[in-house]
Symmetry: C2
Subunit: 224 residues, 2 copies
């Protein structure tokens, strides 16, 4: 790390995807600030995993913001709606969707980026998520970036020649779970430090049956 590397804010959940995003941004020369959320999620133990990933990656700062999405509810991840096991698939939006979550997470990342003099923000949305979660689609990320540049002092003052100031990176955008595992291996990500389960034990033992567990297992089985 030199003092001259540009800073970036990376959303870090404790799951495998965001660990790969962090490694990918560091490879690309960014001095990274990790941002996690204690939001009332059922799988709050993921924050322990986020701490381990952030420590191993030697980020310059790891902020954990506490917000109460349980008071807002309307999701299996933040209320008493059960997390489905062995989901049949299909194209409907799953009950694990959390209202406006990525809008909130990216807005905090934007505030932190502006306050720390960072221009770049990274989030681990990927091709698997697109089918189910509206706030993982490239259309949304693009619309967020546009609003971000209009919302902020830095966005207004530093924009030059039609080039927006804030940039939202989605390095996993085109990847399947298998592709994410392969990229992570190339970047020497220690996946043992990560947890993907939506419904783990209090100690962080994955359930092995929810969507997140199944997709993770599939990614490892297929990656070479």
């Amino acid at each position: 790390m030199t003092a001259h590397e540009p800073r970036a804010v990376v959303l870090l959940s404790g799951g495998m995807d965001s660990a790969v995003v962090l490694a990918s941004m560091q490879r690309d020369g960014f001095d990274c600030i990790a941002l996690s959320f204690d939001y009332g999620q059922r799988h709050r133990v993921e924050l322990e995993f986020a701490r381990r990933v952030a420590a191993r990656a030697r980020v310059r700062e790891h902020m954990i913001q506490s917000i109460d999405l349980r008071a807002i509810g309307a999701s299996a991840l933040t209320s008493d709606i059960p997390v489905p096991k062995h989901r049949s698939g299909g194209s409907e939006i799953p009950v694990t969707y959390v209202p406006a979550r990525n809008m909130l997470f990216l807005s905090f990342a934007l505030a932190l980026a502006e306050a720390r003099g960072a221009r770049d923000i990274a989030i681990g949305v990927n091709a698997i998520d697109y089918s189910g979660y509206p706030d993982c689609r490239p259309e949304f990320v693009g619309a967020f970036a546009r609003a971000a540049n209009l919302a902020t002092k830095a966005g207004v003052e530093h924009a030059a020649g039609g080039e927006p100031w804030f940039r939202v990176h989605t390095p996993l955008a085109a990847l399947s779970k298998t592709g994410i595992v392969s990229l992570g291996r190339t970047l020497s990500v220690d996946f043992d430090l990560t947890l993907s389960c939506y419904d783990p034990s209090r100690e962080g033992q994955p359930c092995g049956e929810c969507d997140a567990c199944r997709l993770r297992a599939q990614g490892f089985a297929e990656a070479c």
Copy 2:
């Protein structure tokens, strides 16, 4: 109030502008949910005023979200930077700007709206704010609304015939402070329940010298 009135989420700060917005949305037939933030603001006592306004207006719910913008900093409202008194004006963005604040507040409003089955969100941005705060400009509000409709399940599922689902109302958009006072009087808003100061005493006594105090006094002096 009937059970059939459409619901709206109204951002309520405890200041005069948002009290007028709430009254205006109620006049327009909305069953309102008020949303306030304990965000580490220097003028945290404003929340007491928000509670009084919400109680007087008999909103169906008043949520206060706690978020830590002090940890993010970079504003006179959330750090030790002094609040300027007798500011000379000018077109620069003031030090009371809080990074990405309206993006955050509107994102929470969106999450709450989606979870409560509300389609409408209201915020008290107005013509006075435009000059200084980028996140009060109509361009930003429009870009936020676009992102909001792409980010959410309701935005995706309920959009019909090119008509976006979520709508962001800015009933004060065209008004000066004087116009806001006049509208508030028409709507019987009790301004004594509100506090506009950025730097009040712990008991809620306004300083009388900051921008917010001066604009408020000017509004009352000029309103008829």
